[in-house]
């Protein structure tokens, strides 16, 4: 019930913010509504839904995720790794950035450094070859790419 109220509050705030954001949009023409039409309908939908969720929260039963202690830190580390990847991949190339991401994630999952290295060395060049050479999808070449 508590989580529904939090969700309802977030949805309500989102609806209000969305409505405010559309106030600068150009107005309607004589024969049609303007660009704010659909976003404003959605803003009202969010506000009404948010209020309904706050007023009538449903018991959530047993659905809450049970996370292992310390795993939230692992999720945060994985997200940080992904953000870092998106920042450096264009410079270093897929092989290095993807290799670091895969190796780090393997270690994060509790693999030994040998297994992590093996997975990285097999997986990353294989994916690069499949996409770049076989399928013709351009991945960042960087320092080691071909």
């Amino acid at each position: 019930m508590k989580s529904d109220r939090i969700l309802g509050t977030l949805v309500l705030i989102g609806g209000i913010a969305l409505y405010i954001a559309t106030m600068d949009f150009p107005g309607a023409a004589s024969n049609r509504p303007g660009p704010a039409f659909l976003p404003r309908i959605l803003a009202v939908l969010f506000m009404v839904s948010g209020i309904l969720l706050i007023l009538h929260p449903k018991p959530t039963g047993n659905e809450k995720e049970e996370s292992q202690p310390g795993n939230r830190v692992k999720v945060a580390a994985m997200i940080a790794g992904l953000v870092l990847y998106s920042m450096i991949a264009d410079i270093t190339g897929f092989l290095i950035a993807g290799g670091c991401l895969t190796f780090g994630f393997c270690l994060l999952l509790g693999n030994s450094w040998r297994v992590s290295l093996l997975v990285t060395v097999v997986l990353v060049p294989s994916v690069y070859t499949i996409f770049s050479t076989v399928l013709g999808v351009v991945l960042p070449v960087g320092w080691l790419g071909w």
Partner: protein, 492 residues
Amino acid sequence: MITDAFALVFQPSVLLVMAISGLYGLFVGSIPGLTATMAVALMVPFTFYMDPLPALAAIVTMEAMAIFAGDIPGALVRIPGTPSSAAYTDDAYALTQKGRAQSVLGVCLVFSVAGGLFGSVVLMIAAPLLAQFALQFTSYEYFWLALLGLSCAALVAKGSPLKGAISLGIGLFLSTVGLDPVDGYARFTFGSADLVGGVSFIPAMIGLFGLSEVIRNLLRFDDNIQVCQTEKGGLFKDVFHLLRRRKKSLLRSAALGTGIGALPGAGADIAAWISFGVSKRCSDAPEEYGRGSLEGVSDATAANNSAVAGAWVPALVFGIPGDTVTAIAIGVLLMKGLQPGPAIFERQPELLYAVYIVFLLANLLLLPFGYLAILAGRWVVMLPRRILLPGILLFCVVGSFAINHSPFDIGVMIGMGLLGYYLEANEVPIGPIVLGLVLGPMVEHHFMNSLIKSQGNPAQFFTRPVAGILGVLCLLMWFYPLFSFVRRWRKK
């Protein structure tokens, strides 16, 4: 003439091209982020060196295989390989989690083949008639059709309808990001050039389904458990029973898929969503939908494969592409000096009949090829999670990047992954977000166009016969819960 067509198709070179493009289609379709359209586009340079029939055979076979192959990663690791599998990914994956990966993939395969064959037969028999019907669709009909598709969100969403509506609203909101369809006004772009084109659908889908699953796995991570166990009893254990029991549903879904596929602009993904929604409405066990319904999966997968043939109806008859793949195919035909349209029926009927045979053959080939692909995919579910998860994460990254070659799309994937995880942890279904993203632009574009055409008169939305029927259907769908409530109340 028919014998000429058979002679054209059953040449070793054509059969070899079909086999190679079939394997290519299975491979590409099973890789998240690579769509059938992209695969066909990548194949175009090879078709330069082919005669018209092998070129068309390659495209048809590749597409049929790719649409089915998208089901494999959806069922095994919860990342739909192509957008056409998104409608039933949750159900297929839920069945895998219950140890029924083999059953669900067997059902996907056989029902895909059945849907594809149905669509091919319709293409052969009723192509001119269907194309005439599809060509009468104007913005009014398209608006109602898209709205009908959106209304299916209420049907396909598991759990609370209110949370389903919130999820759909999020999808629709994301679809409004970028230039507005009429005035070209930049909405919610915050000065970012990357957002002017809107939120890219593929990275969003990979984040919502794939990354959110990786996060969930990581939060509950236990070193010693595998992804899931597979059941004994073979791939086709549930198939024949289901085929016998759901003959009518199969026909309904395949007919829906072919009809929707024949509409220019609507495609296999929309066909799957609508078929899944209709299937739930007609089911005796609607509560199972979203939690692992084999019926929902079978109906939707039949619809998306039948839509592939449907999309070729306007393409062959009028030279108007039904979807992006047929648009490329028309380009290939033009490159070969062939003009698709009514003239092709008179000038080169043997080529047309040969294409019909190719459709039948491609769908029949799907059975052995798909079987092998599923056997190969079975090893994926047996890998330990600590080896599998890094692979999934890498495919999420590469799949998000591949469509636009933009690191920004990786950011979209991350954002959507976190959003998907948070929403699902609060029992908000994520399927309607994808539906909103797909149909949002279509609803808004056709609504605005219709209003401009009618000088702002909303009554015009009901004056055309097909538009009127679709509009009434939509209204019935919305007010049905109210009617049933009043009926129950009066009975009491």
